[in-house]
């Protein structure tokens, strides 16, 4: 049973690797040592001879409307396209023995020169990665109506690059597939049981009534656990073939090499403004390094970034070229923020440049571009009046004082939660207890806290009777997933909708609603609470830093002011802000994915990947603004806010102290040393 945190402090959680079934086999995966090569032959284990199926885009941001020739095959077919790409799988009674059996796999490769950067992918040199295609562009199109460049006195241009980051939840990915001769039951660490189920059925042509996906306790995800991965399909195939349960637990090395990293987005900005700092128009290019295959969120990423590019500002003209390209690296996926931090970084870096160019304060230039009314941008972003929030945030964060005293950095942003298409919820009352299931599955965000609070309010029942169960496709007809700052927002609204359905059942059976009437009988209500409009909110961050003689940056103070709507669980809100903030700091100072010139991963353990440690924790200050939303429970989104706002505040602070313009993350110490020419 997830989430009742007491089981976790006892060490009694049931994560997928804690589950053992009788006669279970363990799977180990043979992976490509080359970033790009022809596969001349494969022998041993389960391999391309056993399964030709490719994986479409399932999970957060996944797209299925791409050329099938560029989809990720479960097993490498004629080519391999990133180091770590699965080539074959072996099975044994124990994990050590399965690893031993990898020696039985024999693969003959013909190595090719890899394409590793956005620039190389766009140049066309090296040819297309996949047969049957003519370029390495997955999707490309313009967004926003064209306009004549304004005859403005100020025109600023710059280019930015947000490096890739691996999600690195402390629990790696994992699955158990079990086939009883009729039904396939999958236990998995995931954000979205329905994405996994739909993906397995579609990839293997399985009847959906014969597949059940159950979420094990899930030890963090941050985006990386919503997609369907090749290893999941292999485990299910093996369970069908051997008629035994099959377990695969990802090693950290596999996670770093072959899960879907986030970010990897380049932005080119051209900003037209008048001498007061009012931005008249923006032109941009957003290009995502989607990795070796289409269909993952890397395909849709540049369009989502581009849509948000005007941020919390009332910019009347904007036009952006959005492009996703393929390189010989693992497919890109969502990482906390998933396009939101990139958009904010590109615009906020330009706002700072504009302020510096005009010799104005950064808050002054931002203020003049805020709106005093609801505004829909030329790129389709809907925002409320941003001025009242910004004015308050500058005061709450004490920006002016801290700017003078400590050269603080400031960032302002809009959070665009993944509201659409809504979410499902089911409440079942039986024997005086209340069981709840959500379409989106908690993996550390403590959804049980908002579920208990909302239901105890709506149904007038004590919280201790309520249990939020792990995700289970047998318990719900459908569902979406937990990502994009959506769970308390749309999951919470769905819980209330289901509670109201339950109340009307009680009313029609008993002639009126009472909590006693509810608890004395059996009731069951399931809803899909649909949403079709954006529900965005504002946030601002401030950071102060110091830099030592070796270029090492220490974040001293990290302050947040966010409008979260009604804060359903204040200590969970606080926990999300602090935890997300250190991930934002990680993006700027520590975390990276580095490949050598052959495309081999160099950041091969958690320290090299730069996951922040306790000593990296600064002093935190949080201000929660509770401006109610239009939703039934008056909540707004939250989870990704810190990963959007913290990096832009920290890089500005670094720029202020170092005097060096910052155009990318991560920022390396060697770039900040006084006489460095980096």
């Amino acid at each position: 049973m997830m989430g009742e945190s007491e089981s976790f402090v006892r060490g009694a959680g049931k994560y997928v690797d804690d589950i053992t079934l009788p006669h279970m086999l363990h799977m180990a995966v043979a992976r490509s040592p080359y970033a790009r090569a022809k596969v001349l032959s494969v022998s041993g284990g389960m391999n391309r001879d056993d399964l030709k199926a490719p994986i479409g885009g399932f999970g957060e941001g996944g797209r299925r409307d791409v050329n099938p020739a560029i989809l990720h095959p479960v097993f490498a077919q004629d080519t391999v396209n990133y180091v770590g790409q699965p080539v074959a799988a072996v099975f044994a009674n124990d994990r050590y023995a399965a690893e031993d059996k990898l020696d039985e796999i024999d693969v003959e490769y013909d190595k090719l020169k890899p394409i590793l950067t956005i620039e190389d992918a766009l140049s066309g040199e090296g040819g297309p990665l996949h047969a049957g295609t003519t370029s390495n562009i997955i999707k490309q199109s313009w967004m926003g109506a064209d306009f004549d460049d304004p005859a403005s006195p100020i025109m600023l241009e710059d280019q930015f690059m947000i490096g890739r980051i691996v999600s690195n939840p402390l629990e790696p990915r994992g699955i158990i597939a079990d086939y009883d001769g009729s039904t396939i039951t999958v236990y998995i660490s995931t954000q979205a049981v329905f994405s996994i189920k739909d993906g397995l059925c579609s990839t293997l042509g399985l009847d959906s009534s014969k597949v059940r996906v159950i979420q094990a306790d899930t030890g963090g995800a941050f985006g990386v656990k919503s997609a369907l991965y090749p290893e999941y399909v292999m485990a299910v195939c093996a369970a069908l073939k051997y008629r035994k349960p099959v377990k695969w637990i990802e090693s950290r090395s596999e996670h770093l090499a072959a899960s879907q990293p986030g970010r990897g987005v380049r932005g080119t900005m051209k900003l037209f403004a008048d001498t007061d700092g009012k931005v008249l128009a923006v032109r941009g290019e957003v290009t995502t390094d989607a990795g070796a295959f289409g269909g993952s969120s890397g395909t849709s990423s540049p369009f989502f970034v581009a849509m948000q590019l005007t941020g919390p500002y009332g910019i009347e003209n904007a036009r952006v070229l959005a492009t996703s390209v393929m390189t010989n690296k693992p497919p890109q996926g969502p990482y906390r923020g998933a396009g939101r931090p990139e958009a904010a970084f590109f615009m906020e870096r330009m706002m700072d440049l504009l302020a510096d160019t005009l010799g104005k304060e950064v808050d002054e230039v931002r203020l003049i571009n805020t709106t005093t009314h609801r505004f829909t941008s030329p790129l389709g972003l809907e925002i409320d009046a941003s001025r009242p929030f910004f004015e308050r945030a500058v005061v709450e964060l004490q920006y002016r004082e801290k700017s003078i005293r400590d050269a603080a950095g400031l960032g302002f942003f809009v959070l665009v939660p993944a509201v659409m298409p809504g979410e499902s919820a089911r409440i079942r009352v039986h024997n005086g207890t209340v069981d709840v299931w959500l379409g989106g599955n908690q993996h550390g965000q403590e959804h049980f806290t908002f579920v208990k609070r909302l239901l105890s309010e709506e149904l007038a029942i004590p919280e201790n009777l309520i249990t939020l169960n792990n995700g289970d496709t047998a318990a719900l007809k459908d569902g979406v997933g937990s990502w994009g700052s959506r769970s308390a927002l749309v999951g919470g609204a769905a819980v209330i909708a289901a509670a109201r359905e339950l109340k009307s059942q009680v009313e029609s059976r008993l002639g009126g609603y009472t909590a006693e009437g509810l608890l004395e009988d059996s009731f069951d209500a399931e809803v899909f609470d649909g949403h079709t409009r954006q529900l965005n909110s504002f946030g601002a961050n401030l950071a102060t830093i110091s830099i030592d003689n070796y270029g090492m940056v220490k974040v001293k103070e990290c302050a947040a002011c966010y409008d979260v709507g009604r804060a359903l669980s204040p200590n969970v809100v606080e926990g999300q802000i602090i935890g997300g903030s250190i991930q934002g700091i990680g993006q700027v100072l520590y975390e990276s994915v580095v490949h050598d010139s052959e495309g081999r991963l160099l950041t091969k353990n958690l320290s090299d990947a730069g996951v922040p440690i306790a000593e990296n924790t600064p002093e935190f200050f949080t201000t929660i603004v509770e401006r109610p939303s239009s939703f039934v429970h008056r909540a707004k989104g939250l989870g990704e806010a810190p990963t959007i706002g913290v990096p832009i505040a920290v890089v500005r602070a670094i720029e202020q102290i170092s005097g060096k313009r910052i155009r990318h993350t991560p920022v390396r110490p060697e770039e900040l040393i006084e006489d460095s020419d980096a």
């Binding site: 945190s5 007491e6 089981s7 976790f8 402090v9 006892r10 060490g11 009694a12 959680g13 049931k14 994560y15 690797d17 804690d18 053992t20 124990d94 994990r95 050590y96 690195n168 939840p169 402390l170 629990e171 790696p172 306790d217 899930t218 030890g219 963090g220 941050f222 637990i249 090693s251 950290r252 090395s253 993996h443 550390g444 965000q445 403590e446 200590n571 969970v572 926990g575 602090i578 935890g579 997300g580 903030s581 250190i582 991930q583 091969k604 353990n605 958690l606 320290s607 996951v611 922040p612 440690i613 306790a614 000593e615 990296n616 924790t617 935190f620």
Partner: protein
């Protein structure tokens, strides 16, 4: 594969096993003794999710062979709870929100328990430094540090 007879004491119980010499202590604890509270978060001794106490010293059980534990006394997260009652450190993590997803939690609690047994006078920076071998991806560590402080108060309260 050949095995070695290995005897140790886990959470106060004597255990005797025939173990392949290559098996890590964490594998034996989890797979052969069913003590799944000790977690595996990496394969490079970076994360600390597998922390246990061996003969009074906190170690990462992914970096010790099970046969090396022969004759030793081991404490895992499961052994901190006595007759169903949470240890002060466990209680502190629960009450002061020291966890989110819970996966790093057993290692964090074992490490915190060991730190507090070493020295209860360490300041915040000293605690942070000593916790740098335990990774948490959810909390940003602030609440974990606060839990250790609170656990210290609970332990002092008990002594007084």
């Amino acid at each position: 594969m050949e095995t070695m007879r290995t005897t140790f004491r886990v959470n106060g119980k004597d255990v005797e096993l025939d173990v392949e010499p290559r098996r890590l202590l964490v594998s034996v604890l989890r797979e052969e003794l069913g003590l799944t509270g000790t977690h595996i978060g990496c394969d490079t001794t970076n994360c600390g999710a597998c922390a246990v106490v061996v003969d009074g010293k906190a170690i990462k059980s992914c970096t010790m062979l099970a046969v090396q534990a022969d004759g030793k006394e081991i404490l895992t997260i499961e052994g901190l709870t006595k007759d169903g009652t949470l240890h002060h450190v466990q209680r502190a993590f629960l009450e002061k929100h020291g966890l989110q997803c819970g996966f790093c939690t057993p290692g964090m609690i074992v490490m915190s328990y060991w730190l507090l047994n070493q020295n209860q006078n360490w300041g915040e920076e000293e605690i942070k430094k000593r916790l740098s071998g335990n990774l948490c991806r959810c909390t940003g560590y602030r609440d974990i540090i606060a839990c250790i402080r609170y656990a210290k108060e609970l332990m002092r309260g008990e002594r007084e």
